[in-house]
Point group: C2
Chain length 428, copies 2
């Protein structure tokens, strides 16, 4: 008897018809198998697509500078509705099922309304109910603060809820059902020959999630890696009621060791590059003629960090004039105006000349654990791009990732060029 | 420093614009008064108009035979949203405010999902917060079962929530804001000369509420009477931000003793009849040729009671044939089909000949505490109706009420005739 957590996103939960499709998938998972055993099943659900936006808009209308504690009360209601409806629909299909709200389990989070983090989950009653054959339906996104108030985990937080529940009940697998059927070598809307991967490693998924492959919330991947939760990404738009195939139809997120095993068994090819991701949501900021002295850079980035603005790439160009330098970095486009205002406020303290901003940029990233042991991935990336006349404005790297900043208009071309260059195109 | 509970219904909460109007009324109530004191204020809110219907429909689509425990999870979300939004709006107006969900206070209810009853409210933290100057915003309609699950109080339950909160915090007054500005002698849409009453007694309000004057949920009036909560009915569509007038602009629901005082002070006239109510939502059932023997009538009404079908008027006509009788009674139209099916199932046990049903009936009721000490109210009612040729099909009475069943088409005529007959028409 395996313990399985299944997570369904807002598109899968959009209306009672779609919830019925989800219920059929869940029922198949929970059904008695030919060998007489059956899985214990917990389901984590998002709000209906569009519902969270509707609720967020209400909050903005009510109070543009909203109190995040009350915001959480309002927006957490979307998942409460879908969890009750899925439990009702499962019951209509003859399954035993009940909902467990965030405050009922409870899912303890640290007190940071609208972006809380899961601290622990009291899973005893939950496990007992599941073992007794009751399907548990848990609203994603929501938790309970130490003060006994409703918290939410930030947009996309239901993935993290699912992984946290899976860790708490020591689940054998956490299946994340989305509107794509797995993790691809790149965005199939850009490259028709993109291939679905049978498996990627946690680290690869973490890099892919953080550079714009919107399959999983970044935080959920980090948590899965930390807790060793086996995560599978798969589509909820498979045939209604079809039992999940034994050979796992989606993409498994695995540890490095499991990946090695898969390669040894011939189930995966050893790959230098696993995926090419792109991200058009960053903006570039250039501060010109910053004094080239100790502490100057800290003066720039400390206030941004204090304001929770996520700075990604940073490049310091040595200036023409001695003792001065240009500092270039990227921030999310949604934070650009705030970042600019913050820096203007500190102009004299930092001592720059001008702020130049550009949101018409894109970040292209090549990701793969194979880079750890193989040199030359970065240089072949630069070569492939320069051969097609694509200008690289900035570079950043990690152990298993190389990212470049380019002009936004060249995004699709760059992705196609790199997909071919690394031999990722599917054979016809 | 008075403690005031304010309750706003779904029409007042329909959208962020209307919630802003409500917030202005609440702010005025909570503001520091010319004498330097201020009221402690708790606000109980309904879901946005239409929202509960939307959620109930989702439940029906998900599972026509829905589990009331999960139904409660879904439908309680509507009030959660409006309570958070009103707290946010009050904060935007510069007030301190926070929401208290049913499970947070908690509002303990007995375990009867979808029609729970309030058992007790832990008011200590609530009172402390209110005394500290924070406006408490409480979603109506919802509570917590002994098993730690969400319950709801049945449609219209927010009135009862408000009265229960008022009782728990020993409020000086519970103001129920509705879309009418008080309790009228009858429906002003039928009788243009209907008068707003300055005060009615609990018993009168109870009879009026139960016979179709939809100002307050019946249960809330019963609770207010039992707990001695001073309730005022008034309109939320008064001028925005206008502070509640000192002379109480609505209708006060008072005890018999308070009513006597008001009359002595000349603030109220002694009235024989307080109001004329009508109700078109009943249906008539006639069972013909029921054996006239002990237990026969119990055989009819026991199964209906077991199915929670509310039987109102009952008339037993002596039949033409010895040993047989016709039994006539009324049930809510919404329960008619179910009642009919139940009785058909027990045809041989009960031993009737035919079931005749008629939903084209209306119940007209004359209500007033004055009847306790004055005879003749019923006979003058029958005389006034017969003078206009209105046929009375059945009669039922209580200590302070006389109800008659008539043809539905004659409803408006009957109400106008009685309003004039009892001298209730406003002077021009």
């Amino acid at each position: 008897m395996a313990r399985i957590v299944m997570k369904f996103g807002g598109t899968s939960m959009a209306g009672t018809e779609r919830i019925r499709r989800v219920a059929n998938i869940v029922r198949a998972q929970a059904a008695v198998k030919p060998d007489g055993t059956r899985d214990s099943v917990a389901v984590v659900v998002s709000a209906m697509a569009g519902e969270t936006d509707r609720l967020v808009n209400f909050c903005r209308e009510a109070n543009p500078l909203y109190d995040p504690a009350e915001y959480d009360v309002v927006v957490a209601s979307g998942e409460q509705v879908t969890s009750g409806l899925l439990a009702l629909t499962l019951q209509a299909l003859g399954c035993k099922a009940r909902s467990w709200l965030g405050w009922q389990l409870p899912i303890h989070t640290v007190e940071a309304h609208a972006k809380a983090r899961v601290e622990s989950i009291d899973a005893e009653a939950l496990i007992a109910s599941m073992e007794a054959g009751e399907i548990a339906v848990i609203p994603g996104f929501q938790g309970l603060s130490a003060e006994g108030r409703v918290t939410t985990l930030g947009r996309g937080g239901s993935d993290t809820s699912a992984v946290a529940v899976a860790a708490a009940i020591k689940a054998d697998r956490c299946d994340i059902y989305t509107d794509v059927d797995g993790v691809y070598t790149t965005d199939p809307r850009i490259v028709a020959k993109a291939k679905k991967q049978k498996a990627v490693t946690y680290e690869e998924m973490l890099e892919l999630a953080s550079v714009g492959a919107k399959v999983l919330q970044t935080r959920s991947v980090g948590l899965a890696m930390k807790e060793g939760v086996r995560v599978q990404v798969l589509s909820s738009f498979i045939g209604e009621g079809a039992p999940p195939a034994d050979d796992l139809p989606g993409t498994m997120i695995v540890s490095d060791e499991e990946m090695d095993e898969l390669v040894e068994k011939g189930l995966m090819e050893r790959q230098l590059v696993t995926g090419i991701a792109h991200d058009k949501n960053e903006a570039k900021v250039i501060l010109t003629r910053v004094p080239d002295r100790p502490g100057a850079v800290a003066n720039i980035f400390e206030p941004l960090a204090a304001a929770s603005i996520n700075v990604d790439m940073i490049i310091q160009n040595v200036g023409r004039d001695k003792g001065e330098t240009d500092v270039t970095f990227t921030v999310p486009q949604s934070d650009l105006a705030r970042a600019q205002a913050l820096l203007e406020d500190r102009r004299s303290e930092i001592g720059f000349n001008r702020i130049i901003t550009d949101s018409k940029i894109a970040k292209i990233s090549v990701v793969g654990v194979g880079m750890k042991s193989h040199a030359g991935v970065a240089s072949s990336m630069f070569r492939a791009l320069s051969d097609r006349g694509i200008n690289i404005q900035a570079i950043s790297t990690s152990e298993i990732k190389v990212s470049v900043m380019i002009d936004e208009d060249e995004t699709e071309l760059a992705v196609r060029v790199l997909h071919t260059a690394y031999g990722l195109d599917a054979k016809d």
